[in-house]
């Protein structure tokens, strides 16, 4: 049975067009793009095409693209590059709701000779921009902020912040892994110095990512090795995947309109009807500044893993905001930073759609989920107390 896949912020289906484009480079055209012979050189030409397509999606120049192995490598490359090429600066600014790729590196750096400022967010997940500007100083080497949050979809005003940071003389990096292909991005018209993206979040395969580096930005390679990527990232190119990412970028540019119309309509329907049919449920995050494909819904008094496993019975794939790993039943750092109360944080579910989802799939989730929540609530000792309390007051 085909899954009802609503976990596209975790990873996406590789587009069939992308697979088709890749296959010859996994089989007959196996040459090394750096080779002197035509057999390898032709592969190099194909990589050049792919690079141009990805650059087009971002409004960048092809030579401003550095291919990496994933979003995490892109983030690490960007942050280390800024620190190593600005050795007199010892300060980093990031937010409290970043992906672990940036969060854990920032925490590591803060224990190893650097100062790190973690900018807070409000209850809707919006960044405290005043706090950021107050902490921006001449010592700030890099400001790294996600374009859109992976759990709530909340979008930060990256272009506005980038301009200010850039004027201050610090490097501005954005982890745009969740934003690329879902919201319009044009680096030619903003002041973003470096931008990370990941292939598998936009219908390319896993194991390929890219870092946009604005021309003129001071840079130091993260992976030292051969001359690949103009010496900015050593290692033989992941040829087929890079070609796949090029195709995916081309498709993303074509689909951007669909994301914001078709996908958004489906997401809005799913969200509206779930909220209507399930009492004590609410959306996490600012609904006005959000990715078109994401909704994080809190179902009070039930626990996320139970919801996911019951949905799994119907082959519905989503993810939960809380990770019930070991005894530390910690809700996600994103929801905690937003101050989402425990009553709802533990029962938060993220649905993230793609252009491959259909209205029938939404209808099925809208049909199946309310009884699941009801069942779990009937089992929950807190629900009967709450329901009882409601009857008395009502």
């Amino acid at each position: 049975m085909k899954p009802i896949y609503l976990d596209n912020n975790a990873t996406t289906q590789v587009a069939p067009e992308v697979v088709e484009e890749m296959v010859p480079y996994l089989s007959q055209f196996y040459g090394n793009p750096s080779s002197m012979h035509t057999f390898g050189g032709n592969v190099g030409m194909k990589l050049k095409e792919a690079r141009a397509k990805l650059a087009d999606l971002l409004g960048a120049q092809p030579e401003e693209i550095v291919y990496t192995s994933c979003g995490t490598e892109s983030d690490s490359t960007a942050i280390w590059a800024a620190l190593r090429s600005n050795p007199d600066k010892r300060h980093i600014i990031t937010s409290k709701v970043e992906h672990p790729a940036v969060k854990n590196l920032s925490e590591y750096l803060s224990q190893n000779g650097y100062r790190t400022t973690f900018v807070p967010v409000d209850g809707k997940g919006n960044l405290d921009i005043g706090y950021l500007y107050d902490h921006l100083s001449e010592d700030t080497a890099i400001v790294s902020l996600m374009w859109a949050n992976n759990e709530t979809g909340v979008i930060f005003p990256i272009e506005e912040i980038a301009a200010k940071v850039h004027r201050q003389g610090a490097v501005f990096h954005t982890d745009a892994v969740q934003a690329v292909g879902k919201v319009p991005i044009n680096v030619a018209e903003n002041h973003v110095d470096m931008l990370s993206l990941s292939g598998h979040k936009l219908h390319a395969p896993k194991g390929v990512g890219a870092l946009y580096v604005r021309r003129g930005t001071k840079y130091a390679p993260f992976l030292l090795g051969g001359h690949q990527e103009h010496g900015r990232r050593g290692g033989t190119e992941n040829v087929a995947s890079i070609i796949g990412l090029g195709k995916a970028a081309e498709l993303a540019a074509d689909h951007l309109d669909d994301e914001n119309k078709k996908v958004k309509v489906l997401r809005d329907k799913l969200e509206k009807l779930l909220l209507e049919r399930i009492p004590n449920s609410m959306v996490n995050g600012d609904v006005a500044h959000r990715l078109p494909n994401t909704t994080s819904i809190a179902f009070e008094y039930v626990e996320g893993e139970s919801i996911l496993l019951m949905m799994d019975e119907f082959n519905i794939c989503a993810s939960s905001g809380s990770a019930c790993t070991s005894g530390s039943l910690e809700p996600s750092h994103v929801l905690r930073a937003m101050g989402v109360p425990f009553t709802s944080a533990h029962g938060s579910i993220r649905f993230s759609l793609s252009i491959y989802n259909t209205e029938e799939e939404m209808d099925l989730v809208i049909e199946k989920l309310p009884p699941i929540i009801e069942r779990l609530r009937k089992m929950s000792p807190f629900w009967s107390q709450t329901a009882g309390a409601c009857q008395i007051s009502g």
């Binding site: 050795p87 139970s306 019930c324 005894g327 530390s328 089992m379 807190f382 009967s384």
Partner: protein, 276 residues
């Protein structure tokens, strides 16, 4: 995705004895909303001290619900004395095992049963003995010691998996380490306390480290380093020879020179380059 046994899945999807007995003979409640899981167990006891009915309400993950369901099946038909003998391991065994990170779910079941029986017997609510160690989940040193010896646990992580202590803010990890050390009579390998150095001592130590450890390594590549000044924890240096023109000099400075000085002089050292 957790590797749950078929029996865990089956008890999760079709839990037995969900609900609350009206006019119960015993009630046991453990956990809370903020903890992320909670269980309310109600029991009915017959004339011959036999548990004739048990029902549960659980907020929590799949294994918490399955453990509660299993618990009710296990206690119905047993005498109170027999039920008192049930351990959390037996609950886990009944389900064909639980992932180790989820053992606390079976502990929650056992604790709720203990409380429900105490309630039935009219015993006063047991206040956990000992001093509070984990404030997040209200676990005392005596409970940790008991878990260590009864389940032969060895690490903080295992303690967290079993009784959740240390699973919240993490402030108590050091205390738990101490308890583990005292129970097993071994000393934990604590890093030696950093010595407080006077400025003179620090500068001397930095010089020695540069001479003994760092310079020889740089010289192999035709480079050298010169100490310019020490300002608190800031160590100002000048790179000489091939190092001065090397594109990788910043990497050398941070990843080699600084980390060596951190290791051998003080963790707080920051190395900075002054213009040649």
């Amino acid at each position: 995705m957790w590797e749950y046994t078929d029996k865990v899945k089956e008890h999760f999807i079709n839990p037995r004895n969900v609900g609350e007995i009206e006019m119960p003979d015993g009630v046991g409640e453990v956990g809370s909303l903020s903890c992320g899981d909670a269980l309310k167990l109600t029991i009915k006891v017959g004339e011959d001290q036999r548990i004739v009915d048990a029902k549960f309400q659980t907020f929590g993950c799949a294994s918490a619900i399955a453990s509660s369901s299993a618990l009710t099946e296990m206690v119905i038909g047993k005498t109170v004395q027999e039920a008192q003998e049930i351990t959390n391991e037996q609950i886990a065994e009944f389900l064909g095992g639980l992932p180790k990170e989820k053992m606390h779910c079976s502990v929650m079941g056992q604790e709720a049963l203990e409380k429900a029986i105490a309630c039935y017997l009219g015993e006063p609510e047991k206040i956990p003995e000992g001093n509070l160690v984990c404030e997040c989940f209200g676990v005392t040193d005596v409970q940790i010691e008991r878990a260590l010896t009864e389940h032969s646990l060895k690490t903080v992580e295992e303690i967290t998996n079993y009784i959740k202590a240390g699973g919240g803010c993490g402030k108590c990890h050091e205390k738990i380490e101490e308890i583990i050390a005292s129970v097993y009579g071994t000393k934990t390998d604590k890093p030696p306390q950093p010595k407080v150095l006077t400025n003179i001592q620090k500068i001397k130590l930095i010089e020695e480290t540069l001479e003994r450890e760092i310079k020889p390594a740089l010289k192999q590549d035709g480079g050298d380093i010169q100490l310019v000044d020490v300002d608190g924890d800031r160590v100002l240096v000048k790179l000489i020879g091939t190092c001065a023109t090397c594109a990788m000099s910043q990497v050398t400075l941070k990843d080699y020179v600084e980390s060596k000085l951190k290791e051998l002089v003080a963790q707080t050292i920051v190395v900075e380059e002054v213009a040649a």
